[in-house]
């Protein structure tokens, strides 16, 4: 720690002082930076101090300095959400008043309803029906033209609101197929016969025509009540159509036989109460627009 004044040599070419340290014989000039550079640095420093005072800056054990301007990114987000909600309000009000046909007639409104419906579908329905609404084994495909309970706006709304076999809604849709094999209503042979007949309904040539013929009688005795004559389906009962190419639990003989012997039943929750009526309206409109709407 020397207190004597250090003397710097001056480089005769540039006029700058030469730093007294040398690195393998290479020196460094003490060329002063431009004035604006130095001043900018000072201004930035002062700006930073001002920033600490104005905005949230320093953390302490529990919490942080809030800043005198009271700025908060969380409040910002809340404000933006409120602004978005306010911007949606005129559309939402219109949606609430109009019926489905009127919404469909208004391109701007139907775009809005479909966008909302799509988001709601992704949050609430995609878990079972798939993000593309194409369903899965046991979960109905909502894109096709086959509906268990019907695919017009009113029916769809009823289904969404009250669900299917929902345990907490009196008005829920109910249907129950007896376990024909498990409960001994039909013998194993009768089950096989009726399966052969059911498959023949959708145009598949039965492997055993005699079995299909026998199955026709079994069908008439046991199945027509819900599935209708020749398996055309009965929507009031939720009885699936059997004479088409769409099978909820699979369309090969084994899968159909399994369903006759010991049927599985899907459950859909009742959404009234969980979603507000406007959300249900958007959902119904969206599902109706997927290609199968009636």
């Amino acid at each position: 720690m020397s207190s004597e004044k250090r003397k710097y040599e001056v480089d005769p070419v540039t006029g700058s002082a030469i730093h007294p340290y040398s690195w393998d014989g290479i020196g460094e000039l003490e060329t002063p930076p431009p004035r604006w550079w130095v001043l900018t640095y000072l201004v930035c420093f002062l700006f930073a101090v001002g920033w600490w005072v104005a905005y949230p800056a320093w953390p302490y054990i529990a919490g942080y300095t809030k800043g005198v301007l009271g700025f908060s990114t969380r409040a910002d987000v809340a404000e933006q959400i409120a602004a978005a909600k306010a911007a949606q309000a005129p559309y939402n009000n219109k949606l609430a008043q109009l019926d489905y046909a009127a919404i469909a007639a208004d391109p701007e409104l139907s775009t809005f309803a479909m966008a909302g419906g799509k988001a709601l579908f992704g949050e609430n329905c995609a878990q079972c029906h798939g993000s593309g609404a194409n369903g899965n084994v046991g979960y109905p495909n909502l894109l096709d033209d086959d509906w268990l309970w019907g695919g017009d706006y009113t029916t769809l709304e009823q289904t969404v609101m009250h669900g299917v076999r929902s345990t907490n809604d009196e008005a829920t849709r109910q249907s129950q197929m007896p376990a024909f094999g498990k409960d001994g209503i039909l013998t194993r042979e009768q089950v096989d016969d009726v399966v052969a007949y059911v498959l023949s309904l959708s145009g598949t040539a039965p492997a055993d025509p005699a079995a299909a013929e026998r199955g026709a009688q079994v069908f008439a005795d046991n199945c027509v009540a819900c599935h209708g004559d020749a398996g055309v389906g009965l929507r009031e009962m939720g009885g699936p159509k059997l004479n088409d190419a769409i099978w909820l639990y699979g369309g090969d003989p084994k899968a159909v036989a399994a369903q006759v012997f010991n049927p599985r039943h899907g459950v859909m929750p009742a959404w009234a109460g969980r979603l507000d009526p406007l959300a249900i309206k958007k959902l119904v409109f969206y599902v109706h627009s997927l290609g199968g709407g009636e």
Binding site: K7, E9, V10, N134, L143, D146, D244, A245
Partner: protein, 483 residues
């Protein structure tokens, strides 16, 4: 511990005396008169008139589009340029224009040197304007230097305040005009004063006021010398035949003071009056030869010629000339102009090609466009009678400010039936396209089971506008299960 390698006696400096910042001398360009200065005034007047005048030109585009001849509509994501309307996906046209402009700049630079810098660059135009105002308020070079050295006084404060206020006003006008290119001019100007204009508008005006003040008032030649990248690579476009502002040393040297009536024998024509240095807006001495800081404005030419008039010598001791000619003149030979060179021809050809390319892109631009997005989740849907159905989102771009109706058809897919969501009952789906908008429509294509052979089928969506006899087709494919 000295590292100085030369033999001069090293001087020393106390650590405390090393300056915190450097003290670069300021420039105080002197007023100059002459033909080049007049040309520069004229160019400045034209360019400023264009900048402040263009947004006020109207152009009728009908009820659905703005009627400003040149407008960049940022919220609408569109740019209007007379008959042309540029959508964001056509930014390549703007890119093309920038390329044309860059090559044009190279071409001019190879021919005439840095005339862009000296005459047309906004930095030069606005600095000139600021200097003019400065001269009106504070006087010419000598008065300004005196004022700068003078201690603080009310007179100095008054002059400085007046100057800064005038600069701030020009800066505000500059920033204020910039926003007219992005907003409807007659609407936004009153809004600016009533406080109804948007935050972005005020922020832009404020920023450009500040930056204009800073760049044209304070930074000036330092922008050209230290900040501008073009100054750094312009030498790549120079050759022996490029026009540059040149001092003719063979004629000028040996320089020295000259008294009236003295003989010119045995000495050069340069009387070392330093007028060329005093008028230089970048503060350089052109007699040191071609240098990076020279913006080729030619004010030193005017200054020197007026001195030559006074001493009765011919013009042209400093002039626009080529390096080759300087050498030729030094040897007493006739100057040679070599305008058509591989470099200039090359730049000219590329300039023409790029220009034609942009023109073609503008002319070949379709007023309608379409793109298709085939559903991927799921790829296809099996319908109850066994038919297959694919879903598509078709985006239809109507790039005109008018309403149009188009028909949608699938071509090249035998047996297919096309339905558009919301138009299910129409035999040939017809969709209305709003002016200057993108319509996203859902299209379903249904194929009978018998027509599905097990491999994807390529087909086209054909969008037809019968009214304008316009057809756009977009390729896509139909998917189904493997067979």
């Amino acid at each position: 511990m000295s590292m100085t390698m030369n033999n001069r006696t090293p001087t020393t400096i106390d650590e405390a005396d090393i300056p915190v910042w450097s003290h670069k001398p300021k420039t105080f360009p002197k007023k100059v008169k002459g033909p080049i200065r007049n040309l520069k005034w004229a160019v400045m007047a034209v360019l400023l008139a264009i900048y402040w005048g263009v947004p006020w030109f109207r152009f009728d585009r009908g009820p659905f589009a703005p009627d400003q001849a040149i407008l960049i509509d940022l919220p609408g994501r569109k740019a209007y340029f007379l008959w042309f309307e540029i959508w964001p996906q056509e930014v390549y046209i703007v890119t093309g224009l920038l390329i044309v402009a860059a090559i044009g700049l190279f071409f001019v630079t190879a021919m005439l040197g840095r005339v862009w810098c000296g005459y047309a660059c906004p930095q030069t135009v606005w600095t000139d304007l600021f200097m003019l105002v400065e001269r009106w308020i504070e006087g010419d070079r000598a008065q300004r230097m005196k004022l700068d050295r003078a201690p603080f006084s009310m007179k100095k404060l008054g002059k400085r305040t007046a100057k800064f206020a005038a600069w701030a006003f020009i800066g505000m006008m500059t920033g204020g005009a910039w926003i007219l290119y992005f907003n409807d001019a007659p609407t936004v100007v009153p809004e600016l004063f009533t406080g109804e204009a948007g935050t972005a508008v005020y922020a832009t005006v404020a920023f450009l006021t500040f930056s204009t003040f800073l760049m044209a008032g304070i930074a000036r030649e330092n922008v050209c010398t230290f900040m501008c990248p073009y100054a750094r690579f312009q030498s790549a476009m120079f050759d022996q035949d490029t026009m540059v502002v040149s001092y003719h040393p063979a004629r000028g040297e040996k320089r020295g003071k000259h008294k009236a009536g003295e003989s010119w024998d045995g000495r050069g024509h340069c009387i070392d009056c330093r007028q060329c240095v005093d008028v230089c807006p970048t503060g350089i001495d052109i007699r040191d030869g071609l240098q990076m800081s020279c913006i080729s404005c030619g004010l030193c030419v005017d200054a020197c010629n007026s001195i030559m008039d006074k001493v009765g010598l011919p013009h042209g001791l400093i002039s626009y000339d080529t390096e080759r000619n300087i050498e030729l003149k030094a040897c007493g030979q006739k100057p040679k102009w070599n305008l058509l060179r591989l470099r200039t021809i090359g730049y000219g050809v590329v300039f023409a090609l790029a220009g034609l390319g942009v023109l073609y892109a503008l002319m070949a631009r379709q007023p309608m466009d379409a793109s298709v997005l085939a559903d991927r989740n799921p790829l296809f849907v099996r319908l109850s009678n066994g038919d297959l159905r694919n879903g598509y989102t078709l985006k239809l771009l109507n790039k005109t400010p008018e309403l149009h109706a188009v028909e949608i058809a699938a071509v090249g897919l035998t047996g297919a039936e096309v339905t558009v969501l919301g138009h299910e009952t129409e035999a040939v789906p017809t969709v209305e396209l709003a002016p200057d908008a993108v319509a996203a429509i859902r299209v379903f294509v249904r194929l009978p089971e018998a027509d599905w052979k097990g491999s994807p089928l390529d087909f086209d969506f054909v969008v037809t506008d019968h009214g304008r006899n316009l057809t756009v087709s977009v390729p896509t494919r139909f998917e189904g299960p493997a067979k």
